[in-house]
Symmetry: C3
Subunit: 261 residues, 3 copies
């Protein structure tokens, strides 16, 4: 079986960056399958990269190697990591991009990458995706044990992710994490986490209330926004064949209120 | 030989959707080659998906599995299909995306997918690309006979595609299906179909006449729009190294008139 | 080992073009790995395609076949080429897209492709990526010796690339080749070439001076643009976590001055 590497970056698709990184991977091991998750993370947006990884990784086969390069600190002293968790590997900078993996999975090991003989030479100060993360991922795929790349550490960078809390009025608060291309508002409200607190009665976002809670997009009514659990397990606000973002004049970062029964 | 799956969706490239769907395919059979045709079909635009499939599928090797997920009815009672035609397989929702295959090829079998043990579990109500269409395509690639997925049906959904007709004045009417990134106007006028009716003398679109009919883009004159048969077999209106759409102030949906000799 | 083909085009990702070209490649040899470098070269921008190829090709393994289709002259008498250089193959139109390969590498052979039995049939007048360049690349990957495709030539088209020159005032002139998605200004000033002339003291672009020259993006100060050597070996003007293009109101094509010590 060929090793499988996935890529999440903020490189965009117009430049030569993604191509060069794939070339560096294939130069280590030409027998690698590479899958793009996305290269359109907003520039330097570490939380968005963490969310994308969280939504995607578990659908890949065991032993997949997920490389995340959203790396505003490239060339600084920030560390480079290999994370082993949930039967997968994760490779990228120590800047919080793996926070949602740390939160949702049992972490087996986190290695701080120092073994420079696995890097592409010379190592640039501006493009570690090509010179470090890509080649290291390819070597893992070739069977190098991750302990060979450096020492295990435990003080890796974690973004603070607030837990859902029910206030005195029976309200849980979250935010619009992301607006997708259909205009759906993806919220930070995990359906599994909310289930441990209570049952949603209605939502409110951008000053408008959403009373309809359904199972699938096709259960909605045209021009009436509704809430449902999206495919990544988070509540989202959607509208049938139209944009909820436009209907509600909502934006990324807006507060989302859930009124519980 | 590794099985080959192509993808046409309206998921866009920014979200985790395409990655998760590929992960679901590779979790069934990691030894699959996956080719993106496009993920930028306009949201919910079934005719555009049908046209893209019609232009692309025949260039792939026999036994390729083409997955089309433009699926505004996801989670509703709309059926899920496998179509066998022209030595290829087609997998997607029963909403008309395969209409141009039904029109141009001899259809061998259309299966309504019901065998849930081939689905990814749990099946979400919002993302059948990941949970149904991708895994089913991967199982077909692994050699499962398509009759195993459900019963053959004949009442599948077909979009109405008008035939070209010559009117009393010797004029044939079509529309601008699509404007490509070069500004070329792709029309609904099939060159093969028109050849059975007559020979084009001039075109008219957006109130402007096009008198020049050429073989290749380089035969045109700068700033003078011309007509030619595009690479998918449809007439298009183009301009040399500039945008015909801008020159003619034309838009998708504009009527196109062909004046016959 | 599976043959490896990379693609650089101006086809965009919305149309069926890239998919059809990959299908044509895989119809010749389904056992081919295909890597997209980019399909978002500006329409018909031959210098941008040449620059992208120059930045990407050397990171791929030996014997990789790089296909470049930015081809405003498709259907005209312009020749189709195979270039053998630096242990790689390059396939595309004879319009200058390989100029930076000719400049930086020892060219072993340039073949003018004429052996039509390697083309896809029928050959359209508008889409040689699918009908000629893709299939020829796939046949090279299948082991056909490049001399079988046509005669060696030496009068291939080369774009003029000015050498860096130090003027009487100790100034070297270049241009902004490209603005990347982070707002970095990629200049035409090769660090290796400049090293043979002198050492940079400050830069000037769009009437503003840049005094800070650093090694990595993280060495910069916020809101103060700085110069550094980018990952492709060219000087670029950047700003820490913000857009140098916006800060300097700079555009592609602006003159860049380097003041030497």
């Amino acid at each position: 079986m060929r090793p499988l590497i996935t890529l999440i970056t903020d490189f965009g698709l117009r430049e030569y960056f993604v191509g060069a990184m794939k070339g560096a991977i294939l130069s280590v091991n030409p027998d690698t399958d590479i899958v793009d998750v996305t290269h359109d993370v907003r520039s330097h947006d570490i939380p968005e990269a963490a969310f994308t990884l969280r939504c995607a990784y578990s659908f890949f086969p065991p032993r997949t190697i997920h490389v995340v390069v959203v790396d505003p600190g490239v060339g600084s002293a920030r560390r480079a990591l290999i994370v082993s968790a949930a039967g997968h590997y994760f490779v990228g900078p120590d800047n919080g991009v793996f926070s949602l993996i740390y939160q949702s999975e049992t972490v087996e090991r986190v290695i701080s990458i120092t073994a420079e003989h696995y890097f592409r030479r010379p190592v640039s100060d501006t493009f570690h995706g090509r010179d470090i993360f890509g080649p290291v991922a390819a070597w893992i795929g070739s069977g190098i044990e991750i302990g060979k790349f450096g020492e295990a550490i435990s003080d890796y960078v974690k973004l603070t992710i607030p837990k859902l809390v029910r206030d005195a009025a029976g309200v849980v608060r979250g935010v619009v994490l992301h607006i997708d291309r259909f205009g759906n508002l993806i919220t930070s409200i995990s359906a599994a986490e909310l289930a441990g607190i209570g049952k949603a009665r209605k939502f409110s976002v951008a000053g408008k209330e959403i009373h309809r809670i359904v199972r699938s997009y096709s259960d909605g009514l045209p021009a009436e926004p509704f809430a449902l659990v999206g495919s990544a397990g988070f509540f989202e606000i959607a509208a049938q064949q139209s944009s909820a973002a436009t209907l509600l004049q909502a934006q990324q970062g807006n507060e989302v209120l859930v009124y519980l029964e």
